[in-house]
Point group: C2
Chain length 484, copies 2
């Protein structure tokens, strides 16, 4: 797929800009209907979409079917969120003529769309984080038109999805462009008001830097890399070590390890005695294709470098298959002390490989966890009756967006309480999530109306509340003074 | 005041980092008590504080007394916000073992402090946006220790305020440093997790760039410049032109025009006939001191450049006073077309000067408003019975954080519905406000707990809700699928 010409990028951004006022002014019911129509379209064409996706990504029919389902659920979830209207965060403070030291005006605040959004889609979720994925769904729900930079790994699927969406959406509301250079032009296009990105730390950082260096810097929400450490307490290792080894292997190799929540580090107490079980689990999984040869190349390079490190020894590191797109799962091991003192071991290996890290004392593991970069998830496998105090010590040392107890980090529930984010380098914006209903907050900005006639106000702020949105009226906080 | 030595900056940041876990773990009642103690301390020492402030800023006793009151109210407002607990945005999604295509875990999400915050205080609010001002109050309310870079305009007041605060706060929770170079070191210190800034666009941009270029970029909330246009409709001009001219002059010269909400542009219909009233209003206001000689210098330079522009003529532009710290109010005029085509006329003139912009047709004013940079406020003076349609056209053309109807932009109420922010160049972060209760969101990040035993959870997420915070339980949004 050739890179989109600069004039195509500029036209897409301009069309999004032209479409923004009308989309932002739609009644909420109309905006939610668009999202439901998109969900229905995905369902109507799921066989054809899955077939093109399988051809490009090799993710397997079952997984792709499930992912289309998730993508529909996401669109419908945001339709619900739009209809509810709570995302507008409407707040009304009535005037207080007797406020001291000066009368207080009537103030009404709500959130409005930021404007056209650029979405960089992910290689590993051709539906759920691509053209009609979570970033697009949340941006449309917020009332922002979207220009998607398609991932190089599934360009035909991206174009097909965009064509199907075009039958549902007003002109300019969703456009797909192709190519890295086109992506860079998109981030610097004056019409674009925010960027969502899912991908590598290096790629995300380069685009973040572009967004921040614009004459008018814009928000950049990058969901980047994560090591997703799993810590097994000594008590859990004794109680159910073998079961945990099997669960870990299943999570680390799910989807060939091509998830941003893949557990890349397994902390086990020294003398854990699980080498054989772990080796067996990883060895039992046959080589399989990755998303593309470029991912397989990167997997092999990173794995080779890790395996060659003097502090690392293999538990299971078979020769990689002849087919350059395929990958064999691998498991290496090192010590907590080595991990703490060797930053080069902290590189994410995207694909079905993980590192077992043995720790000696409680201090040894805590000190090492504190040295890890922030991540999307961290998991503690412990015994409830014995590990409460240790849980608190471990979680104080872990810098993460989601803490999993006695579960696995893969499997990201799409709900209101989900947080899929974290401080740098997990993301470029520690305040926001890219999964779940709160993802909509990335594309909205507040506006306040002062002393405005009721009939002039947008419906969510009118006294009669004609759209019946949740509102806070005169919420907590001392009636303020005014000055300045 | 000499610039703080690099080792002093590093120590302050390290002390803030050391204080962060305990401050973040305080029960909400204890955190709110700290804020109330700080408010009380300001009240106990108000005479002494106002005296030092007057000596440094020359803002006048009455204004300074009012500002101390506002600063106390802000601290108390955030104490209320903390006690309420709604700012934690706690959300609980119960497990759903029957969810399709896979069981859904129990997920509980809340906001936690980002960590140590750097606050750059403002010249024009020695209390309300300085050591114990809104940025500090909201950061402490969020549970974040603060290192304040004092403004060069009131270093002694900053040190005095910090000493008084030290009697109330745990060690390391609030420190003051001095000097521009020290400020730059602070923004790049690894312990600092976010920055709040109030000041000029140039100064804010330089620090924003530093924050964005860190190895680990951090959020930077800069409240920068704003032209604060006021648009008078033809109907309002006929109905109450002279009254509006007087109101405008009062707002533009309030506090010697040293407010970020000072109306810098007054749009009047051609042939408005208000030159004499406006001239008289500005001429009646005597020269008075500004915050410092550096501000007066900048005022004179900017005013001279504007007045020398070929498209600008003076309405009232007297010689500036001999005292280099003093400034005489000034009013210039130009046309909407000239403003639209001369970007050099869009420079903010901080101080008691404004520009009257005459417009011909409706299109003339709309086109010019669309060409303005985004601002903190925009004001429409209109007639309710006649101007509804024009109000909608004007507000669609204005890119702003707060829309004022038939009022003036100065006088920023400190409430929940206030929005004091806006897209670049009004701020560096269009999503956030620096005034009002929502300012706390800048210093918080989400964390989600998955399947965690009730007793292990932080109190706001425990089933029994021992702190009795507002929570959403199973809020709108289709029960999500899981994958990835």
């Amino acid at each position: 797929m050739p890179s989109s010409h600069p004039s195509v990028v500029a036209s897409a951004a301009k069309a999004a800009q032209a479409a923004a006022p009308a989309l932002g002014a739609f009644p909420l019911t109309r905006r939610s209907a668009l999202l439901r129509d998109l969900a229905r379209t995905l369902g109507d064409h799921d066989v054809r979409l899955a077939s093109v996706a399988e051809d490009e990504t090799r993710l397997g029919a079952e997984r792709l079917k499930g992912e289309i389902h998730r993508t529909r659920v996401q669109l419908e979830m945001f339709a619900d969120v739009v209809e509810d209207g709570g995302f507008l965060d409407a707040v009304i403070d009535h005037a207080d003529p007797s406020a001291l030291p000066a009368p207080r005006p009537d103030l009404r605040r709500m959130l409005v769309p930021l404007g056209p959004v650029a979405v960089f889609s992910a290689s590993n979720f051709p539906f759920a984080f691509s053209v009609l994925g979570g970033d697009t769904a949340s941006a449309l729900a917020a009332g922002c038109p979207v220009v998607v930079k398609a991932h190089e790994g599934h360009p035909r699927l991206s174009d097909l999805t965009a064509r199907l969406a075009a039958d549902v959406l007003p002109e300019g509301v969703l456009t797909v462009i192709h190519g890295r250079e086109a992506g860079r032009e998109l981030v610097t296009d004056p019409a674009i008001r925010a960027v969502g990105f899912t991908g590598s730390t290096a790629g995300g950082r380069a685009l973040f830097d572009l967004a921040a260096s614009r004459p008018d810097p814009i928000p950049f929400y990058g969901e980047l890399g994560s090591l997703n450490p799993v810590v097994v307490t000594p008590a859990a290792c004794v109680a159910r070590g073998a079961e945990l080894a099997r669960g870990f292997a299943a999570s680390a190799t799910l989807g060939q390890g091509q998830f941003c929540t893949k557990p890349g580090l397994l902390f086990l107490p020294e003398g854990h005695g699980l080498d054989e079980v772990l080796r067996g689990e990883f060895a039992s999984r046959a080589p399989a294709p990755l998303l593309g040869e470029w991912i397989a190349n990167s997997y092999r390079t990173t794995l080779t470098a890790l395996a060659a490190h003097p502090a690392v020894r293999p538990l299971h590191n078979p020769p990689q298959p002849a087919d350059p797109r395929h990958a064999a799962p691998a498991l290496l091991t090192t010590t907590a002390e080595a991990l703490r003192t060797s930053p080069e071991l902290l590189e994410e290996c995207f694909g079905p490989a993980s590192l077992v890290v043995t720790y000696t004392t409680r201090n040894d593991v805590l000190e090492t966890l504190r040295a890890l970069p922030a991540g999307l998830t961290a998991t503690v496998q412990g015994e409830e009756a014995e590990d409460e105090e240790l849980f608190h010590a471990l979680t104080a040392a872990l810098y993460t967006g989601r803490l999993v107890w006695n579960g696995w980090p893969t499997g990201v529930a799409v709900t209101a309480a989900m947080h899929h984010g974290g401080p740098w380098p997990a993301t470029t914006s520690p305040l926001h999530t890219s999964v779940g209903t709160r993802a909509i907050t990335r594309w909205l900005r507040p506006i306040a109306y002062q002393n405005t006639p009721d009939a002039f106000l947008p419906p969510p702020l009118q006294d009669a509340n004609p759209w019946n949105v949740p509102r806070e009226v005169n919420p907590p906080g001392v009636p303020g003074s005014r000055q300045g």
